[in-house]
């Protein structure tokens, strides 16, 4: 560790760090456009100029390495003057189409102009005309006029995906980012380009003109679409108050986590967010129940408990069958493990998950569900659903998830499920199989609940709700914790299991894998 002074504030930093990184670590922001922590410094935007005592010229903060007792000033008159000049040159060729630019609101150029600029342009020349709407990839649109040639996109494709579809062509005022002739940006990580572009040069057709970025709220979550468990930000519109537009997710952004996904997210995670809203169940569906007319969240565990007790006392536990899936969090799987496997000694536990998909060599895994590893670590034997074994001698079926309809035809399911006396489904979606069950309980998705997931490499990641669950939906762990209390299995354990955090604590005591490191 060495000490440096940033604007007379003493900061302890590691040796070999750049000035910009050291300042960032101390919580001081040095304006920059081309620098991105994932790549080596490029130094093409010149926004990060700082004054260092003993250096005759202003130095680039992104590429100057700190030295013992270095005195850096980032707000001196000389630095601010230089920053203004750099901004003026960048804006000399930048069109003023912020009103129609999707980046407006989280554009760094806008922010810096607001902070340092606010000048009238001295350039009387007309701006160069370039391509305004160049389709460069699956959903990407390049506006060459807005580009400030920071080359973040070029470096991303060179260093992360190693596909090198974009390059900087020509020189001087003619320099432009473009695709090579006959080629397009076609890899599985193109969505990140729109996110790392500091201005609105690369925008996403998926998000284009749908809303403005300042209307969106963001919530932190974990992508459930493969077993990597990339950290994401879900940007959503909470719903326009007057014209009653419902809550809607507009885009997914990658969230930094060096342990799992770095700074990136794959295109499946980026564009596959329609599962958050499409076909969601938001009310308890009662197809066939006896005794009670109204089932609410308060008495549903009571009802389930009563039915399970009746079956387990009459027929032992061979009358109970479970269909699970691995979109359930560690905590929920653990509660199921405690109640049904340990408590009731249920043998018929099956897993209904979507079939494996395609993997790539980087983030995307072939698993299409996020918590298979967690289920394995808890000790579940992950068996695919066998309809005959499922229905044989079963009086009570508790199924989770909407995936049964994808795996079997409705006819086959109907035939088998008609033999089962009582069937309850806990699912987040309105689905054709819902009609086959007595009760369908709406559940929250991973983005709407609290818990933890174990990714393919065994990293346990906790998550908090990013969105409000729709309607009557509640997280499964709540139902299961109540059910555990109702059934009286291991009453000492279930007494104070009121949060996923507490459940994870209990898990750590029992299963060494889940112990906090």
């Amino acid at each position: 560790m060495i000490k440096i002074f940033i604007d007379e504030q003493q900061v302890e930093v590691e040796e070999g760090m750049t000035v910009l990184k050291a300042a960032e670590r101390a919580g001081i922001h040095i304006p920059h456009l081309c620098y991105h922590p994932a790549f080596p410094p490029e130094g093409s935007c010149r926004m990060c100029l700082v004054e260092i005592e003993g250096f005759p010229k202003l130095e680039l903060a992104c590429s100057t390495v700190v030295k013992e007792d270095m005195k850096i000033s980032i707000k001196s008159a000389r630095v601010v003057e230089a920053r203004k000049a750099v901004l003026e040159f960048l804006l000399a060729e930048h069109p003023l189409d912020c009103p129609i630019c999707d980046k407006a609101g989280d554009c760094k150029l806008q922010d810096y102009y607001d902070e340092y600029g606010l000048f009238e342009s001295k350039f009387s020349e007309t701006k160069e005309k370039r391509e305004k709407k160049l389709k460069i990839g699956k959903t990407l649109i390049l506006d060459q006029e807005r580009c400030i040639l920071c080359t973040r996109c070029v470096r991303f494709l060179k260093e992360v995906t190693k596909t090198q579809e974009l390059g900087v062509f020509h020189r001087g005022i003619d320099a432009e980012v473009n695709i090579y002739e006959g080629a397009a940006v076609l890899n599985n990580y193109t969505g990140n380009l729109a996110q790392i572009c500091p201005v609105g040069a690369i925008t996403d057709e998926d998000f284009r003109f749908k809303t403005r970025s300042w209307f969106l709220k963001e919530g932190e979550s974990i992508c459930p679409l493969c077993s990597r468990g990339c950290n994401i930000l879900i940007e959503y519109h909470p719903g326009f108050p007057r014209f009653e537009v419902p809550r809607r997710a507009y885009r997914i952004k990658a969230r930094e986590n060096p342990e799992v996904n770095g700074f990136w997210v794959c295109d499946r995670g980026k564009y596959g967010y329609s599962y958050l809203e499409e076909g969601r169940a938001d009310k308890i569906i009662l197809n066939k129940i006896e005794g009670k007319d109204v089932l609410t969240w308060e008495n549903i565990s009571e009802y389930l408990g009563e039915k399970i007790k009746r079956v387990s006392s009459a027929k032992k536990t061979s009358g109970i069958a479970l269909v699970l899936h691995t979109w359930l969090s560690n905590e929920e799987l653990f509660l199921i493990h405690k109640i049904f496997r340990k408590g009731l000694k249920v043998k018929k536990i099956f897993f209904a998950d979507l079939p494996q998909g395609e993997a790539d060599e980087y983030l995307l895994t072939s698993e299409t569900s996020p918590n298979r590893r967690g289920a394995q670590e808890i000790g579940f034997d992950i068996k695919a659903v066998n309809l005959d074994a499922l229905a044989k001698g079963t009086d009570f079926l508790l199924a989770f998830g909407p995936f049964l309809s994808g795996l079997f035809s409705l006819k086959a399911l109907k035939e088998v499920l008609s033999k089962v006396k009582r069937k309850v489904l806990i699912s987040s979606y309105l689905n054709e199989v819902n009609s086959l069950f007595d009760i369908v309980i709406p559940a929250a998705l991973i983005a709407e609940k609290e818990g933890s997931l174990t990714n393919v490499d065994g990293v346990i990641q906790s998550f908090k709700p990013a969105l409000e669950p729709p309607g009557e939906s509640l997280p499964e762990w709540k139902v299961l914790a109540d059910l555990g209390k109702e059934l009286g299995t291991d009453s000492k354990l279930f007494e104070d299991l009121n949060s996923p955090g507490a459940i994870l604590g209990e898990m750590g005591k029992e299963i060494p894998f889940f112990k906090k490191k």
Binding site: P99, I100, T211, W214
Partner: protein, 157 residues
């Protein structure tokens, strides 16, 4: 009883004031008819629905959306008016225009005049001078709230 008497006194005072104004104004109008010039003039009102006063040039009246030369709305659906509106009465939905010089235009532009407080912030915020409140139209009362919701056609027309 004494309280009720107080009311009567006030009513009579009111009648006297109205009568005084009537008589005084009548007096000055008669003098004008007779051609006698006085410093004070009799009060004048206008026959409102038939006759209308011109509103001041900075008066904020019913909104209108400006159009380009070819009749397309000037609005680019940047939604700054939606953002700034304190009564949340504007709703805009953007769409893609094939013209590269325009790119973005409003597919829907709705103002709920029943909610509007005529602050004029939308006019101030607009970067394209696409919305103005200079129609001079102040009598757009309707019998149902639904009729006060103005869409793109009504605002341009």
């Amino acid at each position: 009883m004494i309280k009720a008497l107080g009311y009567f006194i006030e009513i009579i005072r009111g009648i006297l004031i109205t009568t005084r104004h009537f008589v005084v104004n009548l007096f000055f109008h008669i003098l004008k008819v007779l051609g006698i010039k006085t410093k004070r003039k009799g009060a004048v009102t206008i026959q409102y629905p038939e006759q209308k006063k011109e509103v001041a040039s900075r008066h904020r009246s019913l909104h209108r959306l400006m159009t380009r030369k070819d009749g397309k709305p000037r609005c680019v659906a940047c939604m700054l008016c939606v953002t700034v509106c304190p009564s949340e009465c504007i709703y805009v939905e953007a769409a893609e225009d094939p013209d590269l010089e325009i790119q973005k235009y409003p597919a829907k532009f709705i103002i709920d005049l029943g909610r509007c407080c005529f602050c004029g912030f939308c006019v101030e915020a607009c970067p394209e001078d696409a919305i103005r409140m200079d129609t001079g139209n102040v009598d757009f009362a309707e019998y149902s709230q639904q009729d006060l919701i103005y869409d793109l056609d009504k605002l341009i027309g």
